[in-house]
């Protein structure tokens, strides 16, 4: 899967904005949005929040977890534990990237947030490399991967599954296909 596709999925997550316009409820195929009233908080998918923000039609209210104090706790917890700790959002990495790119003026201490999320991500990727390595070495056939987010899975998917495929092929010594009949003999 392309990173752009993971980002596409992340854009479906809901965030709160304060609209700077009024509009009745919008009946989208995927569900209703609104009504929108100036200054009142309303939940919209990220794709719409970014679009409205770009057109200067809203102010973003950052998700609760996008906060220096909370993210420090998350980072420390991640460093302390050997396993993967639960993340505040299944798309924490993509949302951080998207919201900081397009609405950093609405997010207090944006630079610190970027660093904290990056640190957490790096810690998790280091764990992921270790567990992938031990999975392959131990010739495991099943692993629980709770709390791993899609973007994290995606960064190791191709390498890990192809490595496993190759090892499997080497072990199971595939039978060659049947050959056609020899010349009349």
């Amino acid at each position: 899967m392309e990173p752009a596709e993971v980002e596409f999925l992340a854009e479906k997550e809901l965030v709160t904005i304060a609209a700077q316009f009024s509009l009745d409820r919008i009946h989208l195929i995927g569900g209703d949005l609104g009504p929108f009233n100036p200054g009142l908080p309303v939940e919209v998918p990220v794709w719409l929040a970014i679009n409205l923000k770009q057109r200067q039609k809203c102010r973003l209210i950052p998700p609760e977890w996008m906060d220096v104090g909370k993210l420090e706790e998350i980072r420390d917890q991640e460093r302390k534990e050997d396993t993967f700790t639960p993340m505040p959002s299944p798309y924490y990495m993509e949302l951080t990237k998207l919201l900081l790119n397009y609405a950093s003026d609405n997010i207090p201490r944006a630079d610190e947030i970027r660093t904290l999320v990056k640190d957490t991500w790096d810690t998790r990727m280091a764990k992921l490399r270790l567990s992938a390595d031990s999975f392959v070495r131990q010739q495991e056939v099943h692993a629980k991967v709770d709390n791993l987010t899609l973007m994290e899975i995606n960064t190791t998917r191709t390498f890990l599954t192809q490595a496993l495929d190759h090892m499997y092929k080497l072990r199971t010594n595939l039978q060659p296909g049947e050959s056609s009949h020899s010349q009349d003999f």
Binding site: M1, I29, F135, K144, L160, T161, G177
Partner: protein, 221 residues
């Protein structure tokens, strides 16, 4: 969702009425991700495609009548773009698999029992048959018919690689399962059973969970 398995007359509106448009889009996204990650071609979902297309057409027709320059209209257009992308990407992904595995898919279709759901939609079936005929005719004309008599026959079924059902996939459990038998990788290891708790995520061979993917009990991720 997708209860209309054996129903081949294509008129399954009554069953689809149970899905709200939002649920319908959700089913499309699930089918899309499953198709992306499954090594083999999954059962086609003609009823979902049909309903999504209907929703898109209906919305586009409404928008043509709407006031120009309206913020609302642009929001609807953005949503349509997103849904159309998922739909196109899903169908594209299926076509790629059909072109990659056509002899095996057509063989499976041939041996399908009556009443058993087809893995191909009627349109995909037509496409696969043409693709096979076109490719066979080409190889025959350019090479096979010029070869010695005992080498003029060639089985695409034996020559074109099969999907690798033993490849590993990531999944999330939607409906809990007990006693899933996991085959060992080496002779020294023993077969063992695992249970899949709702919401848990796993890395496992596709072959082990293929029936659960088909039934919708797990979602590939």
């Amino acid at each position: 969702m997708a209860a209309a398995g054996g129903d081949s007359n294509g008129d399954s509106d009554s069953e689809e009425m149970l899905l709200t448009p939002a649920q319908l889009i959700h089913s499309l996204e699930q089918a899309w991700l499953n198709e992306k990650f499954a090594p083999e071609l999954l059962e086609s979902k003609p009823e979902i495609i049909e309903c999504v297309v209907e929703q898109l057409d209906h919305m586009e027709a409404n928008l043509k009548r709407a006031k120009k320059g309206d913020l609302k209209v642009s929001v609807h257009h953005m949503e349509i773009e997103r849904i159309r992308y998922v739909l196109s990407s899903y169908l594209r992904c299926r076509l790629v698999k059909i072109e990659k595995f056509f002899p095996h898919i057509l063989e499976k279709e041939k041996s399908r029992a009556e009443g058993e759901p087809s893995v191909l939609s009627p349109e995909e079936f037509a496409f696969a048959k043409e693709y096979m005929a076109n490719t066979e005719a080409y190889l025959k004309n350019v090479a096979l018919k010029h070869m010695p008599p005992n080498l003029q026959k060639m089985s695409l079924l034996k020559s074109v690689p099969k999907p690798n059902l033993d490849s590993f996939v990531f999944l999330r459990v939607l409906e809990p399962q007990e006693n899933i038998l996991v085959e060992p990788e080496t002779d020294e290891q023993r077969e063992y059973a695992i249970s899949l708790e709702e919401g848990s995520q796993h890395l496992i061979r596709y072959r082990t969970v293929a029936p659960l993917v088909a039934s919708g009990a797990v979602q590939l991720i």
